[in-house]
Amino acid sequence: MKNLIPKTYLETLELLSSGDYRLLAGGTDLMIQRRSWSNMLPKFRKSTLLIFNLQEMKYMFEEDDFLHIGAGTSLEDIKDNDLTPELLVEAINIMASPAIRNMATLGGNIGNASPAGDSLPVLYVLNALIVLESIEAIREVPISDFIVGPGRKSIKSNEIIKEIRIPIKQFTQTKFEKVGGRKADAISKISFAGAVEINNNIIQDFRVSFGAVGPTVVRKKSLENEIIGQTLAEAKLDVENILKSYEPFITPINDQRSNKEYRKEVALNILESFILTL
């Protein structure tokens, strides 16, 4: 087992192509998952590459109608950047605590692929793309294809999450909701992100997603398409049917944080309130 601190991004790609490594960025999830006793080393099953200090992975800029966020950018830096969409700022504001947000990276929240990761419903709603790079190739995949289950994602062992690309778009209204045991340092029981565009009372765009109510974040474009084109009044009148159409896709579990009945009911209540307050 080797634990290495690559000096450059290129060196990281080379190491990834030559051996089996676990990437360790801020460590705010992994250092706890692999925690051992006090004064003992965390139990990593693989060699690790410590990449938090790679400045090349910390950047934010707009180009070609996309906001580009380096995967190593800390949540606190993303929150404080003027380029960050309000919906993502809202989510980061109630993630963890300042100390954790200073270390936690956006790439890490995606790589951890927890159904309760709070940046994820937002990234689903904003149609974020995940840029994956290896020494041989670079490719981008929609986040909804990248995350395939709890902790599981479609990434090769020689690839790294390099960047998150968010299409730049103005919405009429956005909303992030989180239900947790307390405001700070809480893992979500339910999370929700919504974004709509309304023009002359007609819903031009409608996107909602739910976290912690299934193995991955739930977003249903087919159901969204049924709502797009309706007037606001029509959608509000039809809210019961909209809730019914979402109901089969909200499939939470019981765990130490909450139970499935509560999660389902509250998730649908949040959707109802989102639609009725448009």
Binding site: N3, L24, G26, L41, P42, L50, N53, A99, N102, M103
Partner: protein
């Protein structure tokens, strides 16, 4: 093992250690900075807070390799500053210290907050201290103490 170079309490420091060792263990056991406390060991309580390049981090979940090239300030060094003196007086006056276990972390969180925002509102203080748990005071006194320190120490942050 790797050779890790960093600035610890204003001293250039080199240590041969595993890069995945917890910064908390190194600070307490190799350098005897035992003002850095271990509470929960999983980033939730803030008792182990230190400043990394001036910003608060939880040393129980910072891998040592990550401090390469960075500056780490623990409560021991911070307590030599005038800003700490103001905070200490305010904490004492407001009754913000009872058992004292959370206090080093609370002071580090206050310093990190005031560095970024020298005149915080009550709400901003609550957010700034949101990663630090105190089981004695009920928090109101701590919030008052930070507010009072911001006023008394105006210009220091």
């Amino acid at each position: 093992m790797a050779s890790i170079k960093f600035n610890l309490n204003n001293k250039e420091t080199v240590i041969e250690e595993s890069p995945t060792a917890r910064l908390l263990d190194i600070l307490r056991d190799k350098y005897n900075f035992v003002g850095v406390k271990e509470g929960c060991g999983e980033g939730e309580c803030g008792a182990c807070a230190v400043l990394m390049d001036g910003k608060i981090v939880n040393s129980c979940i910072v891998p040592l390799g990550t401090v390469e090239g960075k500056s780490i300030i623990t409560i021991e060094e911070f307590s030599k500053s005038k800003r700490h003196k103001i905070l200490q007086e305010s904490f004492e006056e407001e009754g913000a210290v009872q058992c004292g276990f959370c206090t080093p972390g609370m002071l580090i969180a206050s310093e990190s907050l005031l560095n970024q925002n020298p005149h915080p509102t009550d709400e901003e203080i609550k957010i700034g201290l949101s990663g630090n748990l105190c089981r004695c005071t009920g928090y109101n006194m701590i919030i008052k103490a930070v507010k009072s320190a911001a006023k008394k120490g105006d210009g220091l942050w």
